[in-house]
Amino acid sequence: MYKLFLTLRYLRKRRIAYFAIAAVLLCTAMVLIVMSVMGGFLDQLKFKARGLLGDIIVDNKSYSGFPLYEEFIADIAQWPEIQIATPVLYSFGLLRFQDTAQTHTVRVVGVRLEEVYEVNAFKHGLYYEKYYPGTTTLAEQQQPVIGVDLNAEPIELKDNKGEVIGRGARPLLPPPYEAALQKSWAAGVRDDETPPTEWTEICRDANIPIIVGEHEVDPLHPPALTGDPWPGLIIGRDIIAKRLADGTYKRYSMYPRGCIVTLTMIPTTGGGSVDTPIKQPFRYADDSRTGIYEIDSQHVYCDFALLQKLLHMDQAERVDPESGAVVGTVPARCSQIQIKIHESVGGRPVNVKAVAQRLQEHYLSYATNPRFKLSIGDTQLVEYVEAMTWEESQSHIIAPVEKERQLVTILFAIISLVAAVLVLCILYMIVLQKTRDIGIIKAIGGSSGGVALIFISYGAAVGIVGSTLGTVLGYYFVRYINPFQDWLTRVNPAWQVWDRSVYSFDEIPHTVRGHDMIAVIVAAIAASTLGSLLAAWRAGAMQPVEALRHE
């Protein structure tokens, strides 16, 4: 009983122990922050990868793509595990906004939009689709121009106090867009991704639905769809807007919805040789945000069939180069097939890996299937096709991050041993200071083990208090790490510690996992207790008389 009593008393009265507690606190917080950020980074990576790719990816990692995807998709559509599969095309291009000299090298992704909506989380990252549901399309389209309703009553513009400061014609979008906006407005959807602009303030003052986004405006005519129809293009948000420190995106009036952008791309033949560059105008239909900066700052999305045609990857006649006669067909190609599977079939969970294996076997069987009559080149493209789970497909990114997380955690844990050494030093110092007290305790009947246990308990108590406070500090630091970094950036832009272009994600991951917290607390208490062993041994081994004579 006296051991606990003296441990608690020394903990309260010996202020030097506060330094040991502070050391344990800081080390615990440090390790927890590192584990949480790195763990969160990994989780985010996995989550985003899955959201972007679907459950299984069929790919041959060739710029030339692979054939027979339509047949494959038709075949596997019969499988009970398969929910939906969609082909995707990847290419590279040069993006240029009309009337500007601004160009970007981009990765062009050809998608079937409606299918991609079902396979992955792409739809949730679209900006205009959120506020104008059903209006984002990759088909040919004209530019929507905001006009005015000349027949309607003028609207009153009010100041902050609600007093009328003027009157004006009511701004309106062309019918499909206006209807979609009214629908989302009625559903309570509000734009929290864009900072207020003069335009949104006018709408607010006039008490009319805020016309979200940037549009061409013609204040003298009714709303209209203008210009030549061009295919739609979805652009990565970090290409077209600027992310601010508070996480919102500033949009530019020079890039209104429906403005013309031009893509220049280089097609390749099935054999891999480069063809003449092609140039294609598009209309800016929407912008996408996946949360991975490398994607959002580089990817643009257009219609699969159009891109296939532009890249000469659609079905074509095979011509004999010597005779010029048509000798067959060159099958259409895609770069990837993204597949979403059901979570369970017949009440039993689906084994994604096993399905991927079966898909690969099924596709590889095409190479020797006589019904397809593939050329040697196409057969080679088929033979290189792999079916991978989303996790396997991203293993080149996930595995190094996993290793990095372990390495950094181990490094910081080693650094944290400093706290154990500090506990050792401080407790040893306390033992030296308390030598006479130890003699007194032994003189009144304290045993060597009992005295040693006082200091072991002391070390453990320092660990418990320090690690508990450190966990609380670490938890709240991680929880508010992004506002903290935003604040730092506002105070001094040079203090921005999280560079989105380096770390892929536009926010510092902040997942605090329960088992991480428990592991850190247990390790801190163990380290602190270990740090107390030498001091405890010294205290326990003291002879009562020698201790009492200590000056």
């Binding site: 009947g445 304290g446 009562p544 009492l548």
Partner: protein, 247 residues
């Protein structure tokens, strides 16, 4: 069987300081009967405190033995190479000494030796706490507290319970030390120069307290260099050249 409570037989103690060997005790013999008040006198450095520490099981002699109720306090000399060696623990002598210090012996030191972080009540209560496990303490706590308050009241410290040692006078501190030594009702009270650090008035007051304890039947072994203080005892022994002689 003897009628002596405590017996010392041929106790020897040598301090090794570098190349110098200082033979402090060269075969001390002593018998203390129950209820007896024995004073041991000697010059400074003569080994009085060392002898008292050995008698009180705080130190270990190189040769000789101490018997308490005819029970040896130390292991046989051949197994006594280290003060608290593994063998000593194994044979139970260290445990036995701990038991004596907890329940049978009480110590009063010249420099009080109170724990500065604890107040008067806690310093005294600690002596009761040491001998109890958490379970036992939970059952004995109220009684131990009552005993402690009674002893402190007896020492005239009832008003000073919450004071820390630094807030007390020398005489008061020594009375706290006596209370701590008495709270578990020891069979022998060992006092090492109890008045050595006190002024004359406080010393006299303390000695009358010790006399009172003796009158109540308390066995006391006291070390002092002051003949006046020693004169209060039933029997006075002088430690000279490492041996005890009757005065």
């Amino acid at each position: 069987m003897s009628s002596s409570l405590l017996v010392a037989q041929g106790v020897q103690k040598t301090y090794v300081m570098g190349r110098v060997q200082l033979r402090v005790l060269r075969g001390c013999d002593l018998r203390v009967a129950p209820g007896e008040f024995v004073a041991i006198m000697g010059k400074s450095g003569s080994g009085k405190s060392t002898l008292l520490h050995i008698l009180g099981a705080l130190d270990v002699p190189q040769a000789g033995q101490v018997l308490f109720h005819d029970e040896p306090v130390f292991a046989p000399p051949g197994r006594r190479r280290f003060a608290t060696s593994a063998l000593d623990v194994l044979y139970g002598y260290e445990r036995r000494r701990i038991r004596y210090r907890r329940f049978a012996f009480g110590f009063v030191f010249q420099f009080y030796h109170l724990l500065p972080e604890l107040n008067v009540l806690e310093n005294v209560l600690l002596a009761r706490m040491v001998g109890a496990s958490t379970f036992v303490w939970s059952r004995q706590r109220a009684r131990a507290r009552a005993d402690t308050l009674a002893v402190l009241g007896h020492m005239g410290l009832a008003e000073r319970l919450r004071h820390r040692p630094a807030e007390l006078s020398g005489g008061e501190r020594q009375r706290v030390a006596i209370a701590r030594a008495l709270v578990h009702k020891p069979q022998i009270l060992f006092a090492d120069e109890p008045t050595g650090n006190l002024d004359a008035a406080a010393g006299a007051e303390l000695m009358s307290l010790i006399k009172g304890l003796h009158a109540e039947g308390q066995t006391i072994v006291m070390v002092t260099h002051d003949p006046t203080v020693a004169g209060q005892a039933d029997r006075i022994l002088r430690l000279e050249e490492g041996q005890l002689r009757q005065v």
